[in-house]
């Protein structure tokens, strides 16, 4: 089972944080901070694994990948395969890339919600449900279609906010 997904930048600012077993916010903050503390001390070109027992308790593993200004982190237990988890990060990033065309940190900052939708399609309650980015994209498009459709019913606020942001 996957315990947590985190995306944070190289300054330690979280961009996405999902914990599949409930953690109070203070604990979340502490976990993110300690993960970052270890990540930032690691050199380039070393393995992508971390011993996470001290942070997440026994039987926990952590893989991360470093893309440009972002760390993508997955925390999981012994019923996942380490290399498969690295692939999963790859899938996630590929999907983001397809979604935003050359994804960069700013895309993630401003599309917090979409990023959530994507990760929810890939990981469901701590389990990997989808590993094909095309399938994920399909679902994402459907969902956003549905969202805009449901929003356009409310004419007044929509038109006003549309006008305001123009």
């Amino acid at each position: 089972m996957i315990r947590s997904v985190m995306v944070m930048n190289t300054q330690g600012k979280p961009r996405l944080a999902k914990f599949y077993d409930f953690q109070p916010v203070e604990k979340q903050q502490e976990l993110i901070r300690s993960v970052f503390g270890v990540l930032c001390s690691r050199a380039e070109n070393v393995s992508n694994f971390l011993e996470a027992d001290s942070i997440f308790g026994p039987d926990s593993r952590l893989v991360y990948k470093h893309y440009a200004t972002l760390y993508f982190v997955l925390v999981f237990d012994s019923s996942e395969n380490e290399l498969a988890m690295l692939d999963l990060i790859q899938v996630f990033v590929e999907t983001l890339d397809k979604c935003f065309k050359n994804v960069c940190e700013l895309d993630l900052v401003f599309n917090y919600c979409k990023m959530h939708t994507i990760i929810d399609e890939i990981i469901f309650g701590g389990q990997v449900l989808e590993t094909s980015s095309t399938e994920v994209m399909k679902a994402i498009e459907e969902i956003s279609k549905l969202e805009t459709a449901s929003n356009s019913i409310s004419l007044v606020p929509k038109s006003v906010s549309g006008w305001r942001t123009r």
Partner: protein, 980 residues
């Protein structure tokens, strides 16, 4: 649309999440100010009646909660409101907020059951998906119970998008409400036959999780998994199936035979490293008795090890360390790679290879490997250096140093490690030095030599990491001073000026050790002198006999020591000086009590003989006075006390020593006699040997009447909080009836201070005080001369014991120790061990009721109900849940059969007989542990198909059986004999 003007304004000018994010980036007013402003807005907006305003506010709040860690539990009710919105966009926000912030204790969870049910049955697959997703995160037992029927329906949904999520949610539902398995499990199993890869991947994932908790229950599904293992081409699915087999195989040996070939096939064929690694891991962890498969796996590991990708190298090392215990050759074959990996750039790889190197350590090579590693640690960075040292220390000390044969070598290795500049393992080294000193008699001379080397080096005192080690060496030198070649040098080392760099608690140990050394020197000097002036046996005998008298209160073994001088004194009477020299030798040997062992004997007396002249003793005393004089004003009570003790003692004897020497051939005056007597007494006090104490010793002590164990000792904590006991080694002072639990060097003094001096020494002191009143404080603090027993029920001591029973142990187990000693083999020095294993074994694992409920339910579905009773028996205490279960059954009630079952179970649980249930638990464990038996059962009980067909029947039978005492073995789970 909007209710009032204010809410209209809110709606018109509300900031969206995007606005908030942009605001963050502008950072016009610091971050925290910005957030608190945004939170104020959100609070107001959430109260709006307009659903759009409300959901936008909630959206912002979720964002702040998730990425800026602001609690949002206060908005739980608003979350429920937004969830129930009919618009998808709002609903989504609501559901996301719920999965983010709800947990088992959230009160409003009770309100969402109907909303979830409505959405689960919605025709819009995305709404269903929202509800499932939320449920997978927040489902409680109640929610799971109430929504089981809906999930059951969804498990066979025609839409893949929904079905896979329904499969995913089953995991959480089963975990929270095991009885759901009775309803849903069959459908879940049916999905294993699905041709859709997404469905298959999801359902295999779920089984992987389920099997990791309770593999036994899923054995009957082995044929399905086997089919997937052979047929599937999807790596994700294969990895999960491999994980399942890794759990099942240990339970069923015949399964292993069957799967080993397909797994090897995958390993040979696959190009995906992840799958290959999973194959390797499965083989080495669960199929390690198949030699050829292991060979293949090790060959693949070799490929990983030489790969450039550090990830693969790391995993290769990990796999190797799994093989290591059973297939040592695999590590040896890759020895070079492993050693080379010690200098890898990646800290993970370095650590992993260090572990492997340590796994290679055995009795035969421990010296070499430690040598290599210690040299290596000198070259590596501080962190890894300490990692290396730490693992050497823990490996060598494992199981009471079972790996060490040459303790002299190990002790000097410890000394060497202490000198490594980055060494931060002072605590561990300290513990081991003392522990070895206490446990291994034969090594003490070497230990003292090593300790001396560290003590006399003034440079070491400047390194704070070494202080703990120095504390141990000081203690060792004091305690085993009789092995020292040159006590004078030791004294100088203990009192060197740079000791002022030590923290007070350790300095106190130094001073106390100096005390012991001084007593030893004086005593040796006196013995030397006595043996020369042995022409006056009467006096000597007189003095000694008094001693004996006192000693009789001590335990018997010590008597030998005391009687020694007497016997010699009498023997020597009238003999010529030729004998006296020899008798001195004997005496000094005896004097150490049983402590001096054969090979210390030859060297010690020689050096002593040369050493102790009157001048040297006087110099010694002067040195101490000079060094400790300033400490009389120390602000640290430990130092102050000990320095006082020592100085006052010197004061006490100093005046009398000269006479001793001048009147060599004359009768001793009463003064000198007293002095020598005092020294004698002190020496006895210190000569008591410290022994290790069994961890469980405390439990064997009956609690004395009137002892309040639960008393709150917080007050004591504030007083003693800053005192750091120098060691946690347990030991005992050899009196069988009086318990004394104090940590090493503190002990002697402490007990002394807490006890009353015996009458005689009190009178001595009183006399002394009269004469040298100048040197006494008004209080009685300076009194130290005593042959003291701690009063049996000294309240202070008892409190102390209660406070930290683990560290400060008591009770001598003299007889036990002696027995153990005799048992040891010859070539290795005796290492005193106590039977400590027994305590640990008691806390056997307790079955978790939930899991058992689940496995019970699962087994029931899979095997018919024959084993139903087995599972319900194994949760002896879960009364309430079973009651509830009985009741709940009525609510769901897809079949009336289950109601009956619930009742049967309830009945069962309400007549709990502790003896029976314990018996049953055993039975169950046995079933788990002996697959052989199970398989026999299997054959007896016939095939799965038959079982299933007689499903209904069997259930009734089982119910009947619950009421009678059962033959446990007949209840073993039945495994379909698919191998036939």
């Amino acid at each position: 649309m909007a209710g009032g003007t204010s809410s209209l304004m809110d709606t018109l000018f509300q900031r969206t999440l995007d606005d908030v994010i942009k605001g963050f980036r502008l950072q016009l007013v610091g971050e925290s100010a910005f957030i608190s402003k945004a939170l104020d807005e959100i609070r107001r907006e959430l109260k709006s009646t307009d659903p759009h305003t409300k959901s936008t506010a909630l959206h912002k709040l979720s964002y702040l909660s998730s990425l800026h860690h602001h609690d949002m539990s206060w908005a739980a009710f608003h979350v429920v409101e937004v969830m129930s919105s009919s618009r998808f966009a709002h609903k989504r926000i609501g559901y996301n907020a719920a999965s983010l912030s709800f947990h088992d204790a959230t009160p409003v969870l009770l309100l969402i059951t109907n909303q979830l049910r409505k959405d689960l049955t919605s025709t819009n697959e995305f709404e269903v998906s929202l509800a499932l997703e939320c449920l997978s995160r927040i489902a409680t037992a109640d929610l799971a119970r109430d929504l089981t029927p809906e999930i059951f329906t969804l498990l066979s949904s025609s839409k893949v998008f929904v079905r896979k999520k329904a499969i995913g949610v089953v995991l959480r539902v089963f975990a929270k409400y095991p009885d759901a398995a009775r309803v849903c499990f069959k459908r879940l199993v049916e999905n294993l036959d699905s041709s859709d890869p997404q469905i298959l991947s999801a359902v295999v994932g779920v089984f992987c999780e389920l099997a990791s908790k309770d593999p036994g229950s899923y054995l009957p599904l082995a044929p399905e998994f086997y089919r997937i293992l052979v047929d599937s081409k999807n790596n994700w699915v294969l990895i999960k199936v491999l994980k399942i087999f890794a759990k099942l195989v240990p339970l069923e040996p015949r399964l292993a035979k069957r799967v080993v070939e397909p797994i090897c096939e995958h390993m040979r064929r696959t190009g995906a490293k992840s799958l290959m690694f999973e194959c390797i891991r499965t083989i080495v962890s669960s199929l390690s008795e198949y030699e050829s498969a292991v060979r293949l796996a090790v060959a693949k590991i070799q490929e990983l090890l030489v790969d450039d990708d550090p990830n693969l190298k790391y995993l290769g090392l990990q796999a190797l360390s799994i093989v290591a215990p059973k297939h040592y050759w695999a590590v040896l074959e890759n020895k070079e790679v492993v050693i080379k990996a010690l200098s890898d750039a990646d800290p993970n790889i370095k650590l992993e290879s260090l572990r492997l190197v340590m796994a290679m350590v055995a009795e035969s090579n421990v010296m070499e490997i430690s040598r290599v590693l210690v040299n290596y640690s000198l070259k590596s960075d501080p962190d890894f250096c300490n990692e290396i040292l730490g693992s050497i220390l823990s490996t060598c000390s494992r199981n009471v140093y079972e790996m060490i044969i040459d303790f002299d070598w190990y002790v000097s290795l410890l000394g060497e490690m202490s000198r490594i500049p980055h060494c931060q393992n002072g605590d561990e080294i300290e513990n081991q030095l003392i522990d070895i000193g206490i446990r291994v008699k034969d090594v003490r001379p070497e230990l003292v030599r090593v300790a001396r080397g560290l003590l006399i080096d003034p440079a070491l005192l400047g390194n704070p990491f070494l202080h703990r080690i120095l504390s141990a060496t000081a203690w060792v030198s004091g305690e085993y001073v009789e092995f020292s070649r040159n006590p004078f040098e030791l004294m100088e080392a203990l009192l060197q000026p740079r000791t002022s760099l030590l923290p007070p608690s350790i300095r106190a140990v130094y001073i106390h050790s100096a005390f012991k050394v001084l007593i030893f020197c004086l005593h040796s000097y006196l013995l030397q002198r006595e043996s020369i002036t042995s022409s006056c046996p009467d006096n000597l005998a007189l003095g000694v006999s008094e001693l004996v008298l006192k000693r009789e209160m001590l335990e018997g073994s010590d008597l030998a020591t005391c009687e020694g001088p007497t016997a010699h004194g009498e023997q020597d009477e009238g003999f010529n000086p030729r004998v006296s020299n020899q008798s001195f030798e004997d005496l000094s040997v005896e004097n150490g009590g049983e402590r001096i062992i054969s090979h210390g004997q030859t060297s010690t007396p020689d050096s002593l003989e040369n050493g102790f002249t009157y001048e040297s003793i006087v110099n010694l005393l002067n040195l101490i006075e000079l060094a400790l004089g300033p400490l009389i004003g120390s602000h640290d009570v430990e130092i102050l006390e000990r320095a006082r003790n020592l100085l006052c003692f010197i004061e006490l004897i100093k005046g009398k020593l000269p006479e001793c020497l001048v009147k060599k051939e004359e009768n001793l005056g009463s003064e000198e006699m007293k002095a020598s007597k005092i020294i004698e007494l002190m020496c006895d006090a210190f000569s008591e040997e410290l022994c290790p104490v069994s961890v469980s010793a405390q439990e064997r002590v009956p609690i004395p009447e009137g002892l309040v164990l639960k008393e709150n000792l917080d007050d004591l904590e504030t007083i003693c909080g800053d005192i750091q006991l120098p060691t946690s080694i347990s030991f005992s002072l050899g009196s069988p009836h009086y318990e004394e639990g104090v940590s090493a060097s503190l002990s002697d003094l402490q007990s002394k201070e807490e006890s009353e001096p015996s009458n005689e020494s009190t009178s001595l002191l009183r006399e002394h005080r009269k004469r040298h009143g100048l040197y006494y404080l008004p209080s009685e603090k300076g009194e130290i001369v005593a042959t003291d027993y701690p009063p049996a029920n000294d309240p202070k001591l008892q409190d102390y014991l209660n406070k930290d029973t683990d560290d400060l142990v008591k009770l001598t187990e003299e007889s036990l120790v002696a027995k153990k000693k005799a048992n040891h083999a010859k070539p290795r020095p005796i290492v005193v061990k106590l039977d400590e294993g027994e305590v640990v074994s008691i806390s056997a694992k307790r079955p978790e009721p939930k899991d058992d409920l689940l496995s019970g339910a699962v087994r029931e579905v899979l095997l018919g109900s024959d084993n139903r009773t087995t599972s319900s028996r194994s949760n002896p205490s879960d009364k309430s849940s079973s009651k509830r279960k009985g009741k709940e059954k009525l609510n769901i009630g897809p079949s009336e059969l289950k109601d009956n079952l619930g009742d049967a179970e309830k009945h069962e649980h309400e007549n709990p007989s502790s003896r029976r249930s314990r018996h049953r638990t055993h039975g169950k464990e046995r079933i788990h542990k002996s697959p052989g038996k199970i398989s026999e059962e299997t054959e007896e009980n016939g095939q799965k198909g038959k079982q299933k067909s007689s499903h209904h029947h069997a259930k009734h039978k089982a119910r009947r059986r619950t009421d009678m005492p059962l033959d446990v073995v007949s209840q073993a789970p039945v495994i379909p004999d698919f191998l036939l």
